[in-house]
Amino acid sequence: MISVPVGVGAAVYLEEYARGTWLTRLIRLNIANLAGIPSIVYGILGLTVFVRMFGLFDSGPHNLTESLLGSFDDGQHNLIERVAVEIIRPVANLLHIPLPLGNTVLAGALTLSLLVLPVIIISTQEALRAIPSSLRHGSYALGATKWQTIRHQVLPAAVPGILTGVILALSRAIGETAPLVIIGVPTYLAATPGNIASLQDLVENPTGLVEAPFTSFTALPMIVFNWVRQAKPEFQNLASAGIVVLMGLLLLMNSIAIIIRQRFQKRIRW
């Protein structure tokens, strides 16, 4: 939900709007590099930025902005800290958002969305490139503006390619363990986020859905990782069962991606 709009938007900008300035070349090089960075580095980024939020909001001993920017004469706060403490914290308290984000679904989601963003951008770029220019030229000839062309002609034609890329990126995000380990996801939790135990719970008590992004969570690869490291053979059986579930889910998603790709390739006649 986070990475798809941003990723598709970035790819559209790079393919349709960007001129060949040094800035666009930098962005392209940047995205190619980001795609190759090990997932553990994204975990560390997520830890510092989303989970601990640079140490701004807790009274702990370490504060990244202080070591970066120094402090004012009153010894306590530099500018960013001031903004954080006096502006952002009251707003967050009003909205009941816990700061720093800590171990919440939102922190994990933001980290993983950064991880899959380059993959989505690259696959969307490929999908957009595969559309012949005659489609765009015909649309311009009928008097459409650039955005109208993109929105009504190019994007609908590129949807199968984009969808395939999104599903592949999603399946990668599902299987990733390293970033979750680094941001400190617990390996066992008795409750689902927001205390939603069934669909009936959701209907009776909809506030759970609003609370859910700000509560703690755990993930299947994390649980499997924990089981694998235990010594007893029963845990090996448990780990195998978890792996079967995980692989089944991933196989399902990859098959859907392949089916979408094949069905739409038959339909398109340029």
Binding site: L29, N33, G175, T177, V228, L246
Partner: protein, 323 residues
């Protein structure tokens, strides 16, 4: 239509003709707004890189306030969690290189061979089976590979071969099983990238070689491979950088014992495994162990970034231009 007198009311166009454009239209404003939003999305990627570099750099500087740079690169012990602290990255680095080396030995030739098979020898039906299988192999989570290495590779393959037949001593956690698993993991990466490159070699090259009387093997090895060499090298580099950055397999199968050694049958620790193991324990923020985490991550980041940039450079500079 031409006019000899130009009144100040007419817009400034060549020849004094009035401009028919509206000064402001909602449609144009909407277009500009959407373009700005999309540009912001693209700039977010730069923000991500800047964020990574800034975070790693500042915390690593904090680390080097306590440990010295010389010690970091030359000391052969890595014990930040013990009483007697030593901060030499060499044991972790040798662990990473050992695993990546074994992985490259296994993954690169097998991947290249698969790519050659799929692009030159396979019938379309075989290709239709092999390619999705490789894609599925690429989608397997690395925890599964780690589990596979620990539970299947070590007891049933590595130990019988090396301990049973050759009499070497094989720990339960060893770099060889992790290396083999990482090698299997990078086969799809090498295969798909190399296959794209091999397929882009034009048919005229191959047909010219056949016309001169070469066998199929000759054509593959002496004509197609050299033509595609830059792309294949780039794919090798990307696969090695992936093997270096691999985390979960080595955490599960390799061990927690940082040791400067070239023996793949003992337990060692790699850089990525150290980061994970420190995160799993309880390390308060602001201590030297916490900063050592960032220092190791910065080293890893620099290594993989260098390999990726080199791969891009090779791909761009030495790409063969076919007419």
């Amino acid at each position: 239509m031409s006019s000899t007198t130009i009144t100040p009311l007419e817009r400034n166009l060549p020849g004094g003709r009035p401009s028919l454009a509206r000064k402001f239209s909602w449609l144009a404003a909407k277009e500009t707004a959407i373009q700005s939003v999309l540009a912001a999305c693209a700039l977010l990627s730069i923000l991500t890189t800047v964020g990574i570099v800034a975070v790693l750099a500042t915390e690593t500087i904090e680390f080097f306030k306590v440990a010295s740079i010389w010690e970091f690169f030359t000391e052969t012990r890595w014990t930040p969690q013990f009483e007697d602290k030593h901060f030499g990255i060499l044991p972790l680095f040798s662990g990473t290189m050992l695993v990546a080396g074994i992985a490259s030995l296994i993954g690169l030739p097998l991947g290249l061979a698969s790519a050659l098979f799929m692009s030159e020898y396979a019938s379309p039906r075989t290709r239709g089976i092999v390619k999705p299988t490789l894609e599925i192999l690429a989608g397997v989570p690395t925890v599964v590979y780690g589990f596979f290495a620990l539970v299947f590779l070590t007891p049933y393959i590595i130990r019988p071969i090396f301990r049973g037949l050759l009499g070497l001593d094989v720990d339960i956690f060893n770099a060889a099983s992790a290396g083999v698993a990482v090698g299997i993991m990078i086969i799809p990466t090498v295969a798909s990238l190399s296959e794209d490159v091999l397929r882009s070699v034009p048919r005229s090259l191959r047909e010219g070689a056949y016309a001169l009387g070469s066998t199929k093997f000759d054509v593959c090895v002496r004509v197609v491979l050299p033509a595609a060499l830059s792309g294949i090298l780039a794919s090798f580099l990307l696969a090695i950088s992936r093997a270096v950055g691999e985390t979960m397999i080595v955490v599960i199968a390799c061990g927690q014992n940082p040791r400067l050694t070239f023996n793949p049958f003992t337990s060692t620790e790699t850089m990525t495994a150290y980061i994970v193991n420190v995160s799993l324990g309880d390390t308060p923020a602001g201590t030297i162990e916490y900063f050592s985490l960032y220092a190791v991550a910065a080293t890893l980041f620099v290594m993989t970034l260098a390999m990726n940039i080199l791969a891009q450079f090779i791909l761009r500079r030495y790409r063969e231009v076919y007419q």
